[in-house]
């Protein structure tokens, strides 16, 4: 899977002749899917992810005429979504609230080539929800965007060791969570 916005420069430069609305539509079509998935992985809340993506595009629009001059609107949008996500996360830390069921539902969907195992999906979702957002972010960029640790480190302005550690901690926690759930399930199915 690629960066949500890497195809963006091409898409945007090809459509620069249109007005801001056309440019925005092109930028949305090129980036929004990946940005939304990224925001959802960080925030684990559909409504908040939607707001984060909306806010990022609103910032792009507020740049007024500059919108048509941005060379790398994908990079800009990615940074804006990330900043917005962390702002929401920090706000949640100050004023914790329960995420309603509708917003938290279906964090994951089956990849187009795979069949859905609802049980497995639910277990994986629960395990991902138990991770801190910074670890989910690295998991997302590594697994779903196919980036190397070096690329992630450059994008997040972190050292490669920090990125690798976060990934290691995340996979360790996922393994533990999935093993615990599997043990519980096996325990509950044992005959008395």
């Amino acid at each position: 899977m690629n960066d949500p916005g890497e195809q963006v420069s091409d898409a945007s430069s090809g459509r620069r002749t249109g007005g801001p609305r056309e440019f925005l539509a092109a930028a949305y079509d090129a980036c929004a899917d990946g940005l939304y998935r990224y925001a959802l992985m960080l925030l684990t809340d559909h409504a908040a992810a939607e707001d984060a993506v909306h806010q990022a595009f609103a910032k792009l629009v507020r740049m007024d005429r500059g919108v048509l001059e941005i060379d790398s609107c994908a990079h800009y949008l990615r940074t804006a979504v990330r900043n917005e996500c962390w702002r929401i996360i920090e706000k949640r830390c100050r004023r914790p609230r329960e995420i309603d069921a509708a917003s938290a539902a279906h964090l994951l969907e089956a990849d187009s080539s795979s069949t859905v195992d609802e049980d497995e999906r639910a277990r994986l979702e629960a395990a991902l929800l138990a991770l801190p957002p910074e670890q989910r972010e690295v998991i997302h960029m590594r697994v779903y965007e196919g980036r190397t640790f070096q690329q992630i480190a450059d994008l997040l302005d972190l050292s490669i060791n920090t990125v690798a550690s976060r990934y290691r901690y995340a996979t360790d926690k996922l393994r533990q969570s999935l093993a615990c759930e599997r043990d519980e399930e096996e325990g509950s199915h044992e005959p008395e």
């Binding site: 899977m1 007005g19 801001p20 609305r21 925005l24 539509a25 949305y28 929004a32 899917d33 939304y36 998935r37 990224y38 959802l40 992985m41 559909h46 992810a49 939607e50 993506v53 909306h54 595009f57 609103a58 629009v61 279906h106 964090l107 994951l108 969907e109 089956a110 990849d111 795979s114 195992d117 497995e120 999906r121 994986l124 998991i139 997302h140 697994v143 779903y144 996979t171 996922l174 393994r175 533990q176 999935l178 093993a179 599997r182």
Partner: protein
């Protein structure tokens, strides 16, 4: 038995985070439309405010002129065709019109009481 790293990665790649809802695109694209309408509304409001302000200032200046004329003891100045002709004879410029208006005000029907009546000036006599 706990899954190993390749198993976890394989499990993760079988799924992916859910995509955006269909209505998000419309919501984002409305950002440009909303901006335009807000801008148009701001311009409209500014024009309306300027119009109201200019009308208000015009009314206030008329009122002040009337009050000044009354305070000077002059009645309402009648700008008749004869007066207009006279103004044209005085080159029709602002200075001539002001002079003529003052002369007419002094000669107009007087308000009772204060201030005391001013000597009547025959404007036609001022023309050389």
């Amino acid at each position: 038995m706990s899954p190993n790293d390749p198993q976890i990665e394989a499990m993760l790649t079988r799924y992916r985070p859910t995509g955006p809802p269909a209505n998000l695109r419309d919501r984002v694209l409305r950002l440009t439309g909303g901006r335009r309408s807000r801008w148009a509304m701001a311009v409209g409001l500014a024009i309306a405010a300027l119009l109201v302000l200019s009308l208000g200032l015009d009314l206030a200046s008329r009122q002040m002129m009337q009050e000044t004329a009354l305070a000077l003891g002059a009645g309402r100045i009648e700008w008749t065709p004869e007066a207009e002709e006279m103004a044209q004879m005085l080159n029709g410029d602002g200075e001539g019109r002001r002079y003529l208006a003052l002369a007419l005000a002094a000669g107009a029907p007087h308000r009772e009481g204060f201030p005391p009546r001013m000597p009547r000036i025959d404007a036609s006599r001022m023309i050389p």
